[in-house]
Symmetry: C5
Subunit: 343 residues, 5 copies
Amino acid sequence: MTINYNKEIMNSHPWTFFLLLFKWKGSIWKAVYLETIIFLIVYGIISAIYKTVLADSNQQTFESLIRFFDKRLEYIPVELILGFFVTTVVNRWTKLYQTIGFIDNIGLIANCYVRGNSEKARIYRRNMIRYCELCQILVFRDISMRTRRRFPTLETLVASGFMTKEELQLYNSYNTENNIRLGTKYWIPANWALCMTYQARKDGFIESDYFKAQMEAEIRTWRTNIEWLCNYDWVPLPLMYPQLVCLVVNLYFMIAVISRQLITPKHEMSNEIDIYFPVMTFLQFIFYMGWVKVIEVMLNPFGEDDDDFETNALIDRNITMGLMIADNPMTTPEVRKDQFFDS
Amino acid sequence: MTINYNKEIMNSHPWTFFLLLFKWKGSIWKAVYLETIIFLIVYGIISAIYKTVLADSNQQTFESLIRFFDKRLEYIPVELILGFFVTTVVNRWTKLYQTIGFIDNIGLIANCYVRGNSEKARIYRRNMIRYCELCQILVFRDISMRTRRRFPTLETLVASGFMTKEELQLYNSYNTENNIRLGTKYWIPANWALCMTYQARKDGFIESDYFKAQMEAEIRTWRTNIEWLCNYDWVPLPLMYPQLVCLVVNLYFMIAVISRQLITPKHEMSNEIDIYFPVMTFLQFIFYMGWVKVIEVMLNPFGEDDDDFETNALIDRNITMGLMIADNPMTTPEVRKDQFFDS
Amino acid sequence: MTINYNKEIMNSHPWTFFLLLFKWKGSIWKAVYLETIIFLIVYGIISAIYKTVLADSNQQTFESLIRFFDKRLEYIPVELILGFFVTTVVNRWTKLYQTIGFIDNIGLIANCYVRGNSEKARIYRRNMIRYCELCQILVFRDISMRTRRRFPTLETLVASGFMTKEELQLYNSYNTENNIRLGTKYWIPANWALCMTYQARKDGFIESDYFKAQMEAEIRTWRTNIEWLCNYDWVPLPLMYPQLVCLVVNLYFMIAVISRQLITPKHEMSNEIDIYFPVMTFLQFIFYMGWVKVIEVMLNPFGEDDDDFETNALIDRNITMGLMIADNPMTTPEVRKDQFFDS
Amino acid sequence: MTINYNKEIMNSHPWTFFLLLFKWKGSIWKAVYLETIIFLIVYGIISAIYKTVLADSNQQTFESLIRFFDKRLEYIPVELILGFFVTTVVNRWTKLYQTIGFIDNIGLIANCYVRGNSEKARIYRRNMIRYCELCQILVFRDISMRTRRRFPTLETLVASGFMTKEELQLYNSYNTENNIRLGTKYWIPANWALCMTYQARKDGFIESDYFKAQMEAEIRTWRTNIEWLCNYDWVPLPLMYPQLVCLVVNLYFMIAVISRQLITPKHEMSNEIDIYFPVMTFLQFIFYMGWVKVIEVMLNPFGEDDDDFETNALIDRNITMGLMIADNPMTTPEVRKDQFFDS
Amino acid sequence: MTINYNKEIMNSHPWTFFLLLFKWKGSIWKAVYLETIIFLIVYGIISAIYKTVLADSNQQTFESLIRFFDKRLEYIPVELILGFFVTTVVNRWTKLYQTIGFIDNIGLIANCYVRGNSEKARIYRRNMIRYCELCQILVFRDISMRTRRRFPTLETLVASGFMTKEELQLYNSYNTENNIRLGTKYWIPANWALCMTYQARKDGFIESDYFKAQMEAEIRTWRTNIEWLCNYDWVPLPLMYPQLVCLVVNLYFMIAVISRQLITPKHEMSNEIDIYFPVMTFLQFIFYMGWVKVIEVMLNPFGEDDDDFETNALIDRNITMGLMIADNPMTTPEVRKDQFFDS
């Protein structure tokens, strides 16, 4: 489930942001705790070996290794690579969300143009909406783990009522070799929805050609948005870029696990205390790794992370709401004066 | 109230920006004073304990702790995380404002297409506008504290005249279990407004189908914008990201409260003065915390902070102005030559 | 006047950018000279007191103060705060300019659809354009100092011919208590312009309903753009953000005035020369303060700075050009072959 | 082939990003391994010469050279130049992808407006789609290596069935001197497609002028998008900018090959170990060079790199899918109640 | 000529970017060589004076000056100011290019709606296109050096066939005092083009009012785009901003010319070599100055730099292509089955 925290941060108090920290689901804590533990264990083991197992001369060799790495750790450009990459990823994430598809407009335009309370009119409206929703589900099945799990086969779509058996048959009849890839079958339910408008016009439920064209334009807009979800899925940011970011941060801390060891006062006069726990490196680890986690979550928001888009909830919302709109085309209050009416 | 300071900064004088500093409402001062005081008190207590309570050897231990933290404070990447996050938040804030909904266009297009000064025509126009406004209020009630407080129940909407009793009844009749979440009922007043156009056309107040379609398109645009306020509310930026930013800044200063203690000259030769007040750390605190506050305010602009969007004022403006437009469709000056007319 | 320097930088020579430096109007020099002088005087006074007035022991105390600040000056995060803020401000400034309103399209579309050279047709066209321009002037009066100064009262609009007396009366007749705020009266001239199209259609000057609708759409687009100037004015960037930026830079240099004092060689062996003039701090001051000035100018481009938008020139341009277009609807060259016509 | 890794990163586990690292195709490893080897060899040779060949005094000279460069290496501003440039390049890359052309909408709108299952209607639809696709292929031939290799001459287009011989003849008949450059012939198939709509309307397959205009608008949108691929190809980012970035990184490491040599303990007391392999410089090399590779790949996504756009696959998808859509205009399920239908 | 290097960077090899470096035209080398030489000469002269002319005590004074500057050079914030400014400039440059005007759509829509191969129809189409192109040329003459040089007077437009004598007379007849500024005459050819559509409709070459309106909308879109070239030219980025950037970089290197002098080993023990040539400062100079050059070229892309937009080539392309399209409205291949047609 997408974690909604807007209510908590509505007003800015000194403790506002603090409260955010005590969330677990979808939190930075949940995201990085495993990595952090591993990091600390490895650090601890190395530290223990260095301080207890190694002989004095070996210790000195190890210490010069520490110094070697410590001085050069700054060569690795972590901050800026993360910063610029996160900007790119957030932009992409925002675009994806903007095209994800809320069906309200299809419902309302169907109500506007396919008029009447007759059963036939209702069927037309409901089918248009259902076909549009079907289009969305088919795409979601291919890009979202959650929806795939909910609808592992097309038959489950029939079982849940999103498709009839006849429709599935018709859908499958298009099956050809190279349709599998590249989403070449997503257009089918969109085409059905468009055909519905044609027949509704022929049957007189749509009152003018212009209305029909508007209706069709809205369906095409819907489909185009949905299609871009696929297209963005087809061509992600070049693999190298996330690889690079991943590499930078991970190697940084692989080196840090050595370079951040405190040299024993025996061998180096230092006026610093050894608190045995690498507290600052630990904090740095959380921040950088947390930033990487933000990137991971936003890079593909169609997974099953706590904060990924809730595709299934969206499907339920769209179908419930769409059909409810389709069923209530004209139940409008009587036309009468409002309370502010002055004369 | 949104703080408007445009008048003050109209012209660029040396003192222009200075004057901004003497504002209190919505100011950086008001936002951070509490945190700053807490920070200074904690700093002061620690400082007092260190300098007066601790024995000499304990002082030296504490000093090596100070040195330990001071050297490593730079590990925490505050600036860039804040900078990149604030850019993201400002973009989102701008988009929210752009879809917040100013009703003028609905009013003017209603005047254009639903013609006539007859009472019936006025009622049609006023109802269209009222329904659109109702749509906005319903959304605002769910995302804005202020509006929720103003209209805690739907009955208060009736009392304030935004809805009639009949409309509320009709609205409630749609009530189903899973409507509560995901804004599935916002479409109802929009549908009413669309139905109004249909009836107005049937009654001959709208002169052509094309005009009706334009009118409906404008209402749909209005609703789509309003809907995106919800949608953005539904999927905020992943929780982790603000958590991370909050964590970075707060931990930075938790460490700083120790690491920025001045070591007594007894134990360390320093050619610096001890002015007892950590003036630079204090300034740094204000800047970083201030930046965080900017983020807090812009991350959810529908709260009750000084600088959040004034949803209630917007509602009042929209209904007053909308109805005024609806009441004056044709009061236009006589068609006559203007003063520049040359012949 | 907006400073236009495009001609100067058309070609890239080594001296291209240099030449820009010798401009005074709207220049960085003009913007910061006063602050710079103040800064240098304060610096000079402190320097003089320190070196001549203070006794030796006081000097040493002061020097430890200098060292204290100098070491900690880097705590203040000037560069990145400025950099990220300026990006935000430039984006907003660009959007404002894009909606500022050039009337050409209104004029051309009026020519396209309100046909004929008859006096009545000309009057219709001229009135539409004048009403649109009036709408712009009314908004500019509220957001731009320059235009407010030019048209302090609505009567001056009548005197300058942008309004007739009858129109002003009609306009004032809408006056209600809560109209003053939130721009609730800007719609009136837009409504007049829309009514003009209605009457022109009724009188047969517009040949089809579709043309009328296009005409009205263009007027609405114009009004919507103009309205966003108001809306952006109504909700500026949260006050805190510019306050923060202002504070950062000013405090930085308040500290710098002390911390950048050169310690006398008497008390500190230094192999640096004392050139008495803090040349590098002076340069730094110009750069940071200059960046702040860029922000100030772009944050509210409707003031009277050299580089703010020339609202009055725009009004003149729009009315002159708009009326000229309206007067020449059909003066088109005879239809004949062009010189490239081959057969 | 574009490397698709969305599936791998769907959910955020500690090892998610790690797994990405073990890809070879399109990976950062494949991109930089050659450069890295060269860099290491050069580094090794210099190191060997310095430590074994040079006489002691020469060594000392060389060491002062190392120190000279090492101290000044920070002058070269690698990180920020890369960061800002990569942002620009990603934006451009995104825009290119958004206009690359997916033919679905053309197909669906042809189905909507060119009605009927008659052979003639099918031919019209198929031709429209084929001409649109032809337009895309002609552009791809000029900007994409892959497509150029697939269709080295126009005759190959005939052989693959994208063009008929008659069409090629007609196409070639336009050949004039200055057509070659600037893509002046891309409009021809678009014009054919537009003419098809005209004839289809004349033949009665399109039912109204309005539909024809919509159809034509869609084709023009398609062509405009395709055209921008050319336009962006015509005016790339100014040559200087990528040159600069290339120069910065390459020179940085040319200097580094010297400045990062470890000075022998003989001549400089150092408490660091000499591990003979410049591990940190090696890592830094991978990161910076990797960032440059990301830029290279995204700067011109129409090449033959692993992660470049798969223009040929897109062409195949478009033609297969387009024609399939054109062939199935009305095969729509019977209009009947859906399973949720309640009454 | 815009330098096109897309072909060179199509595929990513280790040497891909290297090859870019060997270009001269439009290269970073050509852009900065002059400045670099000047910088090196000044540096050399100062160096020579310091090392050979100055007496020993003067040398020591000079050296303390060097140290003074060297320590403080970092005060000047070059990198970030350049980075943020270049982002702003690239955005503006991209927007300018997107509105620069490619005439294809005008041509194709003229073919769609002004039907027929009759001479009269061709004349109409050709004139519409020519007037649109004229509009572009008039704007280019005012903002682009290259086009101004090609068409120094309006008479040269007649000579080149873009205007007839009668048209020029008509155009000049509008000449009024305050037309000169602010582009108030650019609308004239656009108005002519719009009038053409009106007459073509009256003469029956355009088949319906709706088509005429679409045609006019396309012409208005063209004109609006072209107009924004002017508008952006009218209000450039505030002068201060480029001034600031120019100042920062130039002053940085003016200081550097002193502060980067190597102090003779006589006076300062240094374990660095003096290689007499300030190689690293030289590199830094190239990078920063190169970045400035990128900004210069992109800030006003209508000059005569190697990489500026080729306005003249665009004009030639537009007129050639536009007229060719206008001459071939219906030459379309016969409607016949394609090779993939299965039945």
